[in-house]
């Protein structure tokens, strides 16, 4: 178990390196930072001095070497928009993002699992059709549009909920609902098909023929086994959730990583963008690792 975890963490290193290479290359190609750092009336010599000072005249691989050494020391460079180290700007925004994504994930799971089970148990009934229909519809709607429509209903027409910013729990309701609609509808069909597959297994038939009550068969025999794919699916939703949060945060002016990254890209504050990409990837990988560990707990057959 410990050995497996160590191996997984070691495997994350090359992946993270590839991510830093990708972001480094794109940020490097995104243009000459001197034009942003210096006033427009700066002369060519000024620019040259600045380039030299920033190490921009070095060959690309040397620049990457410097970059990665700094990153390993927690230094992503300074954010020219805030004038402070980029990493600090990013870390400051993490709690807000985790709060939004965490609550949304929890709501999605709490909503999607009962609906999926219900849908599987009443297969092809009107109830199943309604649940499946709504989940298809939910997956088809762009999350930012769902957000806009919620703002329209609750913020503009009924004026019952705040539509932007962070503070009270009321501020959390709309962005969380937006992300939940999007995520829960992705999970429902997968819970449904997972349940259906397991309901056909021999041991379920055996349990039923032994006269075990319906509820017990559903929760003890079927659901416990269906949980493994459900955890996988939920873990797979995490990058989606973070990606969806990027735009949802922008729509609701939620002061998290998403809003930061969108604003930083708009302002060409590339050191913040680099830091965001690396941190978001780290969070994603960590949550995938966590999901693998949860498997162990719920499925005794899986041993690493």
């Amino acid at each position: 178990m410990l050995k497996y975890m160590l191996r997984r963490i070691l495997q994350m290193i090359p992946v993270l390196l590839i991510i830093t290479v990708i972001t480094f290359l794109f940020v490097n190609a995104s243009g000459d930072p001197t034009s942003l750092l210096l006033p427009p009336e700066a002369t060519a010599e000024d620019r040259e001095i600045m380039r030299e000072a920033l190490g921009l005249n070095e060959p690309l691989h040397v620049q990457y070497g410097i970059f990665i050494t700094n990153v390993l020391h927690g230094d992503f460079g300074r954010s020219f928009r805030y004038g402070v180290p980029a990493l600090g700007v990013v870390l400051e925004k993490i709690p807000a993002s985790i709060q939004l994504a965490g609550v949304s994930l929890l709501c999605s799971v709490l909503l999607a699992i009962p609906l999926g089970i219900l849908s599987a148990h009443t297969k092809d009934s009107p109830l199943d059709l309604i649940v499946s229909g709504f989940s298809s519809l939910g997956r088809s709607m762009p999350s930012f549009w769902v957000g806009i429509m919620l703002i329209l209903l609750f913020g503009v027409t009924w004026r019952v909920l705040p539509v932007s910013g962070r503070g009270t729990w009321q501020h959390l309701v709309l962005p969380c609902a937006t992300l939940t609609i999007n995520t829960a509808t992705q999970i429902v069909p997968l819970v449904r098909s997972g349940m259906l597959e397991i309901m056909q297994q021999d041991y379920i038939r055996t349990a039923r023929s032994k006269g075990i009550s319906n509820a017990k068969v559903t929760f003890k025999h079927t659901f416990k086994n269906a949980l493994v794919p459900v955890v996988t699916i939920t873990a797979l939703q995490i990058p989606n959730l973070v990606g969806g949060a990027l735009i949802t945060e922008t729509v609701f002016a939620w002061p998290g990583l998403g809003q930061l990254v969108v604003q930083s890209i708009g302002a060409h504050d590339m050191s913040v963008v680099q830091a965001c990409v690396v941190i978001i990837s780290l969070i994603t990988m960590a949550s995938n690792l966590l999901a693998d560990l949860v498997y162990c707990l719920i499925d005794p057959r899986i041993r690493y």
């Binding site: 992946v15 762009p142 060409h268």
Partner: protein, 304 residues
Amino acid sequence: MEKKNGKPSEAGKVARERSIVFDLPRLLLKSPSGMVGFLILLTVIFVSIFAEVLMPCTPEEIDLFNMAQPPVWEEGGSMEHILGTDILGRDIFSRILIGSRVSLLVGVFSVMVAGFIGTVMGVLSGYFGGWIDSVIMRITDAFHAIPLTLLAMVILTIMRPGVLTLVFVIGVTTWPFYARMVRSEVLGLKNKEYVKAARTIGTSGPKIMLKHILPNVLPTFIVTSTLSVASSILIEASLSFLGLGIQPPRVSWGVMLSDGRNYLATNWWMATFPGIAISVTVLGIMLLGNWLRDVLDPKNQGLR
């Protein structure tokens, strides 16, 4: 064909995969949801081809006398602008019709780019294994750890936004999904007897991949790519919404949503209708894709 003689059941399987193509129309008639999806997609394709003929107004024409006119059923609406006009007096209905073109173009072509890169990578990875496999898989891991929208946003900062750029960016960010899928199919197929037989009689590697492996990956590939068109359309809409995709005055549903969002408090129709257009299109493609998956899945023989 003689290479497959030693294994009649495999040859039979291939023959069955072929024959299902001719059965598709008949099967489609039996599935209400598949049929709905097919009809929606057909309508969207029709509209995007004949948009010029169907449009009541010129979508870019600014008409300051009819600014922010509500849809026809609201007070102040007119038959001339069925879905109302936007803040510059442009007809929303016409803009939605022409906007379908960008969505479909980006959706279909980005999937082609992703499918091509992903298939080549997946076949190489699965067929050769070893270090090639490790390198390609680590790269796909890296891509899986960064949310798609974030990666696309970073790449877009260095490119001039437009249809071609979006096709490229979405293609380049989504190929790892195909690579993984194709790889797992190839791993399954590589040890089939007919592939071994082909190798034994001295067929070259590229020929085995092209003639014996790729055709068998096709059903899975078709299903995945159909569903991917839907998600590419959503990504395009998000990027255009954030101002990184299609640029005005070019019309796209995402751009319309982004324009309309600013006038939510007074003019609800501006952001509502483009969102409905996106949702219906994506829903149609998804229903068709789900139906295809059920029909082409060998586990669901009974459906045929």
